[in-house]
Subunit: 220 residues, 2 copies
Amino acid sequence: MDESAGPAQPQPDRRTRRKDAERNRSALIAAGSELFDAAGLLPTLDDVARRAGVGVGTAYRHFPNKYALAQAVFAETVETMLEAAECAAKMEDAADGLAAFFEAVLEPQANKRALGKLLRGTPTEDPGAGNVQARVKRCIDQLLQRGREQRVIRADVATTDVGVLMSLMAHLIETFGDANPRLWRRFLPILLDGLRADAPTSLPEQPLNTSAFLSRLTAG
Amino acid sequence: MDESAGPAQPQPDRRTRRKDAERNRSALIAAGSELFDAAGLLPTLDDVARRAGVGVGTAYRHFPNKYALAQAVFAETVETMLEAAECAAKMEDAADGLAAFFEAVLEPQANKRALGKLLRGTPTEDPGAGNVQARVKRCIDQLLQRGREQRVIRADVATTDVGVLMSLMAHLIETFGDANPRLWRRFLPILLDGLRADAPTSLPEQPLNTSAFLSRLTAG
DNA sequence: ACCAAAGCGGAGACACGTCTCCGATACGGC
DNA sequence: GCCGTATCGGAGACGTGTCTCCGCTTTGGT
């Protein structure tokens, strides 16, 4: 989401980088990967710098803050996750697709402890996050529309409702993941059964609109 | 949970308190109530002191930290909540009882913005919290046992599973509550339908044991 | 009215995370 | 090998929240 943005290098001057700078940048990403996997987003950029064997100033010159580093660390993981989610959204059976979609989105978050907080949005503005959110939204929209046509998902579920459920499962992973990293799988059937079309109840209250959902997601 | 612990005053010396001290204590609780309702547990004990018109030192002499103050502020609310939950646990139909139980536990959290974080556990050790947790656990146990007998709740749901779901709903309230304080009601049917006995799937993975659940609840 | 003790107030010590500044250093074109 | 400059490193400034210390004030019993 920062590197590898496409052919015909869009970064104007990133080629001119001294090799010690390149080495340090790589060391920072490697150290960040280790520390973030071990302890979520808790480690300080100062911590990462120390682990990488470089000075704090160096760390802050390469990445304006911890979240920018995390973004670089998890760029590939996010892209892989999105592709899996988009693949799930294309499945014939919408119920299966929804299950696969949750699987695709949650499994990486359970493996990479810092990914969840990063996806929820960085405190600072983040140009790449909007793109991720748009792609996820498209998946959910496809699944819900097809699920209604196939009468397998309750008709009154909105896009942001699925988003809220995703954020709840992500919270589950962050809170209880260190007790059992696969615990979220125990709750996925409960959730999916609750979303089935043959539910005996209907949903009260209005769903959140997209911007209200996104702004809270980012804040929380 | 701090005051009003029963007849025959158990506090040995709290009667000997000068009336200016008593006045300040009340002012602190009143100010805390206002600030916590408006902004959750974010306000500093220093903030509360300023709002109450007393010095910081006074605040810290009456309450060792912010959480102790919050506990005093919400003591009655918590007791009311517990009584409602225990009442719900006694309902004939266990499915109705479970719905009422969630209602009883979540509604106060939606009204009092700081209550959720307080219930989840204070950073410092909290003798009263264990009591609350025990009473809630008893409610859930009763409901689940009866729900299994009546074949209205899926048999593989454990006590801590309900606890996890409570914590997820509390998270929903804290994250999206300011967009719509009643949004949690929209997700309650999804959750309850997912817990019905006629669910077509069974739950994978083992449930958390109680101590693992509680320690994560407190940490998160 | 007096005074010992309870209570008050708020400056400031402390801890922690974030980020900047600038003298020292290493790179790489010549 | 030389030199201009990109880069480095880490002390420390800054912001924020928590909590303590101690000189001053108020209370309430005598």
